[in-house]
Each structure stands twice: as C-alpha cells, then as structure tokens.
C-alpha cells in the first residue's frame, strides 16, 4: 500500500518522481531485492523522513535519491532527468551540484581539520583556495563551530563532528540534503540538538530535507514520512503513531521545563 498524503501538491513542484524503482543486489548465488517497486514523488521543500526496520531498504532508497547508485529497473526522475539512465560522469556531476550528504558515522576525513573537511565539498567545483576557505568558515559559523575550525575530527565530540558534516553538506547550498540516520550515533540530547539544527536550516533555507531514521521522535518532526518494509512502501505499523506522539510530547514537555 502506498502512502498518498502529499499527493495534493502541484505536479510542477515535484522534485523527484519515482516509478517502479527496484534495486537488486547479487551476492554469490543469492539475490536480494533491496527495493521492490517504489512509486514515490517528493516535492521541493519537503522534510521527508524514511522509516523502516533494519533491512527494509531505506538506506538503499536514500542512495538512489542521492545518485550514489542507479536503480536496477524503473525510472527515477530528478528535475526532469532520469537518474537511472545517467552515466557515471553525469552522476558525479549531479552529486557535486544537487545534493548534500549527512552520514550516520559522520564520515569526516580523519586527517583533515573541520574547516578542511568542509572544503572537500568545494573541491569538485574547483573553487580558488581563498574563496574555498571563506565559504567553509561561513558554513562552520552557520553551525556554531567557527571556533573549532582548526580541530581534527578526533578532537571533536560526536555532536560537533555531525555539525561539521552538516556544514560540509550545506556549504554548496544544495537543493537536497540527504541524511542517513544522522542521529544514530548520538546521545539523546545531542540528537535533539542536531535535528533541531537541521530543522532550523530547512525552515530558513527552504531546501528539501530527506532523512532516513528509525527514530519515531525524528519522524515526528517531518512534514511527511514514509514507511518501508521489505523494499516496498507500506503503511506505518499500528503502534507507531501513538508511541511517536507520546514520545514527542514528552520531549516537548522536557524542553519546556528546562
């Protein structure tokens, strides 16, 4: 069953249009259908959360949305171009211009400072050194880390590292921010902090924010959420909504009390 809550949006503002997207992995003799026919449309400016249990295909879907991989079959239209039919060079080009990634394990280059890590996102653009540094500093200031610019990742806390990663995703001002379990490795307080930051940036900049998370609290912040089960879109489990809402209330109450 397909979730159709956002079908009211105008056709023109659709950023993504997925039809029958499948992704099949072959490992030896075993074939795994990570995605088994996804039909999904995502509008520009949405805050979409993809939920699902482990192995449901949510990260694979994020990979397809971020042009990290091509679908095995089906069409994945992004801004009028079918990503499934693009060559390696075009995919690279698309990634460097349209998307910003935030990963669960932060994926910072361990040897580079916070600022240099942010600069890596500008390398494909061949931005001059001076300009690159200026923009990286601005991006770090945007996530309140201007004073940590010269630290290497191991000298930063988990939350700070994820902020650097968010600055790296934002420095190119991409249309879409794709985050894969961005709070999976963080404690609850830092989680709130990071999601709060992403939400704030999303509101300020109007970018499309797509987050993979099994955290119902995170899902509760989204403008829309979809549920994946065995590579297919499904309705959320019966016990999902009440738990999430209760959870959200608790957090809000806690926040109010502070």
């Amino acid at each position: 069953m397909t979730v159709t809550t956002m079908r009211t949006l105008e056709e023109d503002s659709m950023l993504y249009d997925l039809t029958g997207v499948t992704k099949r992995y072959t490992q030896g003799r075993k074939t795994i259908d990570a995605l088994a026919g996804i039909d999904l449309r995502i509008a520009e400016g949405e805050f979409l959360v993809i939920q699902g249990s482990t192995g449901s295909g949510k990260t694979t879907l994020l990979q397809m949305l971020g042009a990290l991989d091509r679908p095995t079959s089906g069409s994945l239209i992004y801004e009028g171009r079918d990503v499934a039919k693009l060559g390696e060079g075009d995919l690279t080009e698309l990634r460097s211009h349209s998307y910003g990634f935030v990963f669960q394990s932060f994926n910072l280059i361990p040897t580079l400072t916070a600022q240099e890590n942010v600069e890596t996102a500008l390398v494909p653009w061949h931005v001059g050194g001076e300009e690159r540094r200026r923009r990286a500093q601005e991006a770090l200031a945007g996530v309140s880390l201007a004073d940590r610019a010269r630290h290497i990742p191991s000298e930063l806390s988990g939350g700070e590292q994820q902020r650097v990663a968010i600055a790296r995703a934002l420095v190119r001002e991409p249309k879409v921010i794709l985050a894969d379990e961005p709070t999976g490795n963080l404690d609850e307080r830092t989680r709130d902090d990071i999601i709060g930051l992403l939400e704030e940036l999303w509101r300020e900049r109007g970018q499309t924010l797509i987050v993979v998370s099994h955290d119902t609290w995170v899902a509760g912040r989204a403008s829309r959420r979809i549920w994946l089960d065995a590579g297919k879109l499904d309705a959320p489990p019966a016990d999902d909504r009440p738990v999430e809402e209760a959870d959200t209330e608790t957090v809000r109450d806690a926040a109010l009390q502070v």
Binding site: I32, K58, L68, D69, T92, F101, I109, P124
Partner: protein, 474 residues
C-alpha cells in the same frame, strides 16, 4: 588541498609510509651500490687492460710463427777456423720477437680500409741480443775440432761470455695515439715528431734508462748504429713494454724486415663495431691472431675476475630481488591502505569527487613515498659505495696463466703469447664511483615503485562505489 591532504595522510600513516619508503630505499640503495661496484670493477678492468694493451686500442692483429721461424738462431760463437781460437769476438743479433711472424706493412692499409675501422697502425717488436767473449782455446788432443756446442756452457774453460739483451719496438711516428706507445707518458725529453720516420732517435723506458744509466741526449748503439735518446717514457705498471722505441722504418732496416710489421693495432669507430671488425679482419687475414679487449678481459684471472663475476652474478640478482620485493611490499601496503579507506573515498565520491581526482590523491601519496625512498636509497647507496671503496682490498689481475693452462689455449704467438710469457699481474684499487646518472636512475626506480604502488592503489580506489560511504545495506 591536494598537497595538504597528501601531507596529512602520510603523517597519519607515517609508520607505514616510512616502512614503504625504507623498503624502496633498500632496493634502490642496493642497485646504487651494486651498480657503483660493477662500475668500479669495470674501471679496474679498463685500467688493467689499458696498461696491458694501450689506451684506445680495440683490436690487435698478429700472426703466429711457423715452427722454427723467427727468434734467435745462430750466434756464430763457434770459431770458423783454428786461427780464431782464443780470440775475442762480439756479436749483435737483432731478430723479430720469438713466436711472431711478420706481416706485410700493406696489411695495415688493408685493415684501415675495412668497414668500422677508425685507424690502424703497425709496429715491429724486436729482440736485440749482444754477445761478447773469447773463442775457446785448443784443448787436449782435439785440436782439429772446433769447440763442441754453440753455447758458452759448452766451453767451460773460456773467459766468461757476456750476453745482454733488450727489446725494441719500431713504432709509426705519424700515429702515436694508437700502438705500443699510446698508454706511455714521456716524463723527460720529448716524444717522436712525425718528421722522424727515418731518424736515428730513440725513446727509452724509465726502468731501462735507470738500469743502464741512460739519459736524454745520450747515444745508444743498436747493432752498431748510434741512436740519440730524445726522451724517457713511462708505461703503466704491468704493461708489456719494450725497453727501447725507435721509428718503425729504422726497426725494419735493423732487422732486415723491410715493409714488415709483426703487430697491428686497430681502433674501431665505435665499441659496437668491434665484433664485426674482428670478423672482417679474420676474413681478410685468415692466418692472423685477432685479439679484442674483451678477449683479453676474459683472460684476466685473479681477484679482479672474481670481483667481476661477483658483481655480475650475485650483486645484480640481489639488487633485482630486493627491488622487486620492495615494489611488491609498497604495492601491497598501498592497496591494503586503500581498502581501509573505503568509507573515506566513498564519501569523497558521494561529495562529487571524480574517480581520477581520488586516483591522483592515492598516486600523489605513493609518489611522495617513492621519492622519499629514492632519496634515502641514494644516501644508503652512496654510503654503501663509500664502504666498498674504503674497505675493499687491492684487487689483483693476472693475465696469461689462464691462456697457458686453459683447455684449447692458443699455442702462442701475437700479443697473447707475449702476455702468456710475461704472466703479468696488475694490482688495482677498487672504487665504486657514483655518477649523476646513477643517482637519477635510483630516484627514477623509487619513483617507478611509488607510481606502480599508487597505480594499483588508485585502481582499487577508483573501483569503489560511492554507495560504500553508507556502510550499511539495509
């Protein structure tokens, strides 16, 4: 960004980078030391060959004498009639060097005309034997008989008979760059001038001059003809030098060998053409003994020959093995380092880095490691070469023994025979010279090792999927 990234990455993996660089350094250092050593051995061989052979000579041509030909024959020490008994006598005999048959001087021109020959010159080496004494007196009842035997020993009752001998080489005064005098150095007086083709002038070796108290300006009588000594010449130790050098035409007259030579020195126009020239001379003069520097080198025995075979066999293979091992280790370490950076490179790809930019990054790291290895290797190699130079014993090269005892050795004649008789031993100090080319080769090899490792690592990195940045497949 490119260099910052390389620098930071190498600093992070400094142990591995240092290990890789040292591996390459050991390989390269061995190549440098072994090549320097081989160069030193080759230099030593050249030193030996030059002293034996003359600088600039590539090939010598001579002809083996037939049995009974050449060499001393009769000295006329038997009195021809009774009236001579008890009287003094004096004999001078000048003959071509034993064992060598003379060749027509026109052969020099024939050889000069051959393809690949730069120059050729002929020389005539002679032996002068001077005998002085008294004929035997009548003894006992055998008055009518001349003294039996031709040797002084056969007439023990006589006053001592003095025998003195010296060797002479007739040289072509128009080309002293080639031939027996080419490696000589005139220490006192002067050398021959090209106008002295028929002059009664002579050069004397330092040793002979000292032995016979001769000086520049003195006169030396050869077979009754007076020659003015114009210079004292020094030849490298161990060389097969004559005692006296006179113009070729004079030597031919003295020994009644008009228009004859017994040794031809040939210079090829390039080192590559020596073998072909040797073959051509063999065809033109089938009876001649044609000897190249290489033939001589093959006859060198002693510690120099051992050093040479050590450099050739053990050293070369050791260096190649070390280099291959270093290349392998560098490649494996680089590939394994790339494998441990899957997420890092996947992330960069996700950020839109092109594969070739990532390959470039890996290559850059390897090239820097390779260069460091090259520099350390050159230092190691130079240190090794210095040690060889400092601690190597003097090497001895012996010529001739091999020729005399070896199976199928030439029965004599020509230069080989002269050397065989002399069994020359030359002592040389081994050094291991390092040229700029060798240094460049070393750095180049290390760089190649780095490039190979980087190319393999880069290839591995380029095959990573950007999706690998998201390590889970769920």
């Amino acid at each position: 960004m490119f260099f910052t990234y390389i620098y930071r990455e190498l600093r992070r993996r400094h142990r591995q980078a240092l290990f890789t660089a040292l591996g390459l350094a050991v390989g390269v250092g061995l190549v440098v030391a072994v090549t320097a050593y081989a160069g030193g051995v080759s230099d030593a061989q050249n030193t030996v060959l030059h002293s034996l052979y003359g600088v600039g000579t590539d090939i010598t041509v001579s002809q083996t004498a037939k049995l009974g030909e050449g060499g001393p024959q009769s000295f006329g020490m038997q009195p021809s009639d009774d009236s001579q008994r008890g009287k003094k006598f004096k004999r001078d005999a000048i003959t071509a060097s034993p064992g060598q048959q003379s060749l027509a001087a026109s052969k020099v021109d024939t050889i000069t005309g051959l393809k690949g020959v730069d120059a050729a010159t002929g020389s005539l080496s002679l032996s002068s034997i001077h005998v002085e004494g008294k004929f035997a007196e009548m003894s006992g009842g055998s008055a009518a008989q001349p003294a039996a035997g031709a040797t002084p020993q056969a007439a023990p009752s006589q006053a001592p008979i003095n025998v003195s001998s010296f060797s002479i080489s007739g040289v072509d005064v128009t080309d002293l760059e080639l031939g027996p005098l080419s490696s000589g150095e005139v220490t006192t007086g002067r050398s021959f001038t090209s106008s002295e083709a028929n002059a009664k002038v002579a050069l004397v070796t330092k040793a002979y001059a000292k032995q016979n108290s001769l000086a520049v300006g003195d006169v030396k009588k050869i077979s009754g003809i007076k020659f003015e000594i114009v210079g004292i010449v020094t030849l490298p130790s161990g060389s097969t030098s004559s005692d006296l050098y006179i113009p070729l035409a004079r030597a031919q007259k003295l020994s009644d060998n008009k228009n004859k030579v017994n040794q031809i020195y040939v210079r090829a126009d390039s080192a590559e053409s020596i073998a072909a020239v040797k073959k051509e001379i063999k065809t033109t003069l089938p009876k001649a003994t044609v000897t190249t520097a290489q033939d001589l080198a093959d006859q060198v025995s002693g510690s120099l020959a051992s050093a040479s075979s050590l450099a050739d066999r053990l050293g070369k293979w050791l260096a190649i093995a070390a280099l291959v091992a270093a290349f392998l280790v560098a490649s494996l370490l680089t590939v394994s380092a790339v494998s441990r950076r899957v997420r890092e490179f996947g992330t960069l790809k996700a950020l839109g880095w092109k594969s070739r930019r990532i390959v470039g990054q890996v290559l850059g790291e390897s090239v820097v490691t390779g260069l460091a290895g090259g520099v350390i290797g050159v230092v190691l190699g130079i240190a090794g070469a210095r040690l060889i130079t400092a601690f190597s014993p003097d090497l001895k090269a012996t010529m001739g023994n091999a020729a005399q005892t070896g199976p199928g050795a030439s029965p004599g004649g020509g230069m080989m025979e002269a050397m065989g008789n002399a069994a020359q031993t030359v002592t040389v100090q081994l050094s291991a010279p390092i040229s700029l080319n060798l240094v460049l080769l070393a750095v180049g090899l290390a760089l190649a090792g780095g490039l190979l490792a980087g190319a393999l690592g880069g290839w591995r990195a380029s095959r990573l999927r950007p999706a690998d940045a998201l390590s889970r497949l769920d």
